[in-house]
Symmetry: C2
């Protein structure tokens, strides 16, 4: 039986070339069971006319479908749906019943309660996105990333791409991190002291699970990155928030009986404060005397365009008490999911074993692509480009903020990509953000950075990593106007 | 100051083109601080002669180094190390001391004790690799994978590549899984009932953490996949091993008070047993009556080349008590790290939130590349190719095993990629494997599949997913000879 040409509709708005879309259309019809084994396809001429495309496009699509065994060519008789196509099984799914499980009780909603900075998925459609940590297509070197990815897909890289590595990381990426990234943070590490992770999030999560046990005790900065609280909770440990001032975490305020202290010393999140060296030394002395471990989240250190970045806490660590986490999410892009964890070898051994249990390893191709991008110098070029752009944007932010009389609560001394802002006490920045969203402006309300019970509703974050320079003055003007109106 | 040409050495055995290796060599010298800002590079002619390469290669490398800002061109004066190059910071790492932390006590070696099937990293160098679950370059469609990866790196895919998705998966991949993969397993699911994971390992780990709490109780098959034990332990739950017979998990042997039962019903690991439908129904009745959840690891269902695969346990699940995990690791390649989890929406919501906490999301580019490879039909063509090859290899295995009088303990009725073998009672297959390794033969000793305290040392696994057809007779002959000798 011949399949009528009218059965074919090219899906609207599909991606890929016309030829690929024709292949997808035919494959989809076969897989869904609409076209069956042995049925005759329309002639290439007939289908081409029906779809309004050139005949050669259809012929090429058919040829590809033959080589992937969806179609069979019988010479002049034309093309037929192959006998070898996947057939939908005869069994039908069980009917859906209401189900007898009380899933709320089974899961206890243990994980979905976590708070975080919210951001609409379609944020690129907003003209004034003062949002944090996303890649900027105007700065990213997409062309060279493609070339590096292609190189990492070469024949000789088959093992790198496909291998099932439980334990080891890409040696080329490890080499670059050890020889070029860590020395910029003052860290001298050996291969067994480094682990590649799925971004800093994964690095910090692994550190929390290895270092904390049920009944353990962790300190987090307040305000601070909300993810830390969830990680500590998953380890079954309790958490104490410790205040932050213009020098970062207040070391004198640390409680007793602590196992782990999480800190963003070089660039406090969200206040941008940098911890002075004397306070870092005090933190390490306290760690030594009271026997706790310091976990340093060293995010965004590359964005130091006003003065050189301060050395990491890890670089001062003579007692081997510091675990250091970093990532390429800010300097390359967050969808990459690549970061690292540095610590003493026995710690890294456990983190590596846990990583194997949870996910085995970050995909080999992703690691190797990054290794090429780094070692060919594209990473440094990109960071330089970002620093130059961010410097200008920061200048524009400062001017606009001053002009409109908004109050900066923390902006850091060396660069970064955001300002921590304080609105008048009566302003609820979540309501403010909602109002601004309607005007095309995205800001980040500050409440989620505060520990539950200590929330302050009048803080917010304004990032300049994704907003074009020219949009800054008007965006800040809109923020200021909305502030007066609420 | 000019840098003497003798300072340059092309690293031996590097990868990439000559031009890229020259760029890496120069970049590395600059980053390591050997070449400093303002220093003059050798002339392209001089460096080309020194390295024994063509001058145009050096010129092109220099040009690229200028565009990534490592070098500056001063017209006829030549090339100089840029002023903008990253400088190693002045601070030096703290001296390494012995450290004061007892890391064994801090970490408790909680994760590194996990047992698993061991495999040498250089297994491809062995002529007779009877090892399980690795990609076969003779069957994999590397060329089309490259093309799909390239398409997923297109300009219009920038958001897919770079985006920071906490919660959502690639809609194109989800669509394909829902419409084409799950129906083959008799499963009809909605988008909020599916989660993309970092392979089946990650899917099962997430399920264990969501469904089990400290003090909970899980059942695993014995013998069975060793990873389950570690996942249950990490959730703080206790585990009861339940025996397996030729129909898989023995449902009558289930203990009371169970929260979760892990099963590989369609294709028991490692015995290859398929659970009959009547027993599946008994399992689901028991789940309903006693209130436990079934986690189904539905690995390798594609490799059914002798008869059609049996429907999944999930397809019989009217009570909403089954969580289903699968992956592309066996059908595509394990280094991809892509799998899925199917279950009731409230369960998936928690698994998704936990995934966000642990690693955020699988890299967007990996998801989109797989989506193209699947939807263009390359996946089905690959699976067909694998099935045809595995059928022949299985035949050769059966003949050689019969010829040499080895004993099969389980091989399954529909296909798969391995045989579960039983050696005479006195044979320790770990010693046997070690002996065979010296002869270029890799087999997998069976001890790790047994629950601690119930180990049997005379079982082993022989897989045929990576060994070439022609090597099978001789490989089996070597196994049989070594068996007689020990």
């Amino acid at each position: 039986m011949a399949i009528p040409v009218e059965s074919f509709f090219l899906p609207q708005g599909g991606s890929g070339t016309l030829q690929q879309r024709i292949r997808q259309m035919v494959a989809e019809g076969i897989l869904s069971g609409r076209f069956r084994a042995g049925e005759k396809m329309p002639s290439s001429r007939g289908l081409a006319e029906h779809l309004g495309v050139s005949r050669i496009t259809v012929t090429l699509a058919y040829t590809e479908l033959v080589s992937s065994d969806y179609l069979t060519s019988r010479g002049r008789s034309g093309y037929f749906v192959s006998e070898g196509v996947p057939v939908q099984p005869a069994f039908r799914p069980a009917p859906r019943a209401a189900g007898t499980v009380d899933w709320e009780a089974v899961t206890g909603r243990r994980f979905s309660g976590m708070e975080r900075v919210e951001r609409p998925e379609d944020w690129r459609g907003f003209p004034y996105p003062f949002i944090y940590g996303q890649a900027d297509p105007a700065l990213f070197d997409h062309q060279n990333w493609r070339l590096c990815a292609l190189q990492a897909l070469g024949r000789r890289e088959f093992e790198t791409l496909t291998a099932d590595r439980y334990e080891s990381d890409d040696p080329m990426l490890i080499e670059y991190i050890l020889r070029n990234i860590l020395p910029r943070r003052g860290i001298d590490a050996r291969p067994d002291e480094v682990l590649v992770t799925m971004g800093a999030q994964n690095a910090l999560w692994l550190a929390a699970q290895v270092l904390l046990r049920p009944g353990g005790h962790a300190v987090v900065e307040n305000p601070g990155y909300p993810g830390f609280r969830a990680m500590v909770a998953q380890a079954g440990a309790r958490v104490t928030p410790v205040p932050v001032d213009e020098g970062g975490l207040v070391v004198e305020a640390l409680p007793g009986g602590v196992d782990v202290v999480f800190t963003t010393a070089s660039h406090q999140s969200p206040t941008n404060a940098t911890m002075p060296v004397a306070r870092r030394e005090a933190l390490l002395r306290a760690a030594e005397e009271r026997g706790f471990i310091v976990v340093e989240d060293d995010y965004e250190f590359e964005m130091s365009f006003l003065k050189p970045v301060s050395p990491s806490v890890k670089s001062l660590d003579t007692g081997g008490r510091v675990v250091h986490a970093g990532s390429f999410s800010k300097s390359l892009f967050p969808g990459l999911r690549l970061g690292w964890l540095v610590g003493p070898a026995p710690f890294i051994r456990e983190a590596r074993a846990l990583r194997a249990q949870v996910l085995r390893h970050p995909p080999g191709h992703v690691q190797r692509t990054a290794a090429y991008f780094l070692s060919l110098g594209h990473y440094d070029a990109l960071v330089n480009r970002m620093k130059a752009a961010f410097r200008k944007r920061r200048q524009a932010m400062e001017e606009a903020i001053a002009e409109h009389g908004l109050k900066v609560a923390g902006q850091g001394g060396f660069g970064g990509s955001s300002f921590w802002m304080e609105a008048p006490g009566a302003v609820d920045t979540e309501a403010l953000a909602l109002r601004l969203r309607g005007q095309g402006v995205l800001i980040e309300p500050g409440r989620v950075f505060f520990h539950p019970g200590t929330e302050r509703r009048n803080f917010y974050r304004l990032a300049y990593s994704s907003i074009p320079l020219g949009k800054i003055p008007e965006g800040i003007a809109l923020v200021a106007r909305a502030m007066r109106e609420v």
